[in-house]
Amino acid sequence: MHDLIATTALGAAAPCVDHHGPISLTEEPGFALASIAARRGAERATVLAIRRMIGPTAPKAGHWAGERIIAFWTGPDQWMLEAPYDSDEFLFERAIKEAKGKASVTEQTGAWCRFDLRGTGLAAVMERLCPINMATFIAGSATRTSIDHLGCFVLCRSEDHISIHGPRSCAAALHHSLLTAIRAAF
């Protein structure tokens, strides 16, 4: 076991938490990510591999699904897997094992920062950030879009819980954008 100490995307040892009005904004460093993309002609096998990891249905375009391990659709025949870091640091190895050579798997844990917005009235925040139609972006929805010039994955976990994965190097910029939008909305 190595002895290196991890830092969060915002550069601290502990995640950043903000509250404003009815909304909380939390940095969520505790997740492992791995991308999985079907090899040519192995689209079905890849879906099956994903199902073995996340449960009965692999998410279609615009969605996420799963429980401890979840998957969200990121492109044609491509998904991102996400699971708690403590239990699944080696998520990518698990995915490689399940893929059995039928899919390409890449570790993505360090590539993204994740911020979660919780509270009522999230639409008022989101409409200041990105063009997602919040009326139809219900629990189970997942999409990638641009937030202040940053390509981000946005997942609706539940009505009052949205998570946003942004490029890790831009964590501070993204955090600033999110906090600014919350303060403008409430």
């Binding site: 615009g62 492109g75 044609p76 999409t143 879009t145």
Partner: protein
């Protein structure tokens, strides 16, 4: 503009990067007898129609699909949106 992505539905064109005439799919055979002339035409000559234009849009801030959008260059009306990969295959591009 709004591009009706075949997989994701209507999306703001601001999420996309424009990549030019869809003829760029029809890359010539490098071993054809007139390969150089064909590549010059491929690289430089354009129909540039005032009307329906087939063009490539890359969903760079989205799912990274290349799309072939058929759009009227005089009204910006969009008639069809296809995955470029499907179009490329149908036009004989393979490997």
């Amino acid at each position: 503009m709004i591009i009706n992505h075949p997989l994701l539905g209507p999306r703001d064109s601001a999420e996309f990067t424009y990549m030019g005439d869809a003829k760029l799919i029809d890359r010539p055979d490098w071993q054809a007898p007139e390969a150089l002339a064909q590549f010059i035409d491929y690289g430089y000559m354009r129909d540039n129609p005032d009307g329906a234009h087939r063009e490539l849009w890359y969903h760079e801030q989205g799912d990274r699909s290349f799309l072939v959008v058929t759009r009227d260059t005089t009204t910006h009306e969009i008639f069809a949106v296809e995955l470029a990969r499907d179009v490329a295959r149908s036009r004989g591009q393979s490997r």
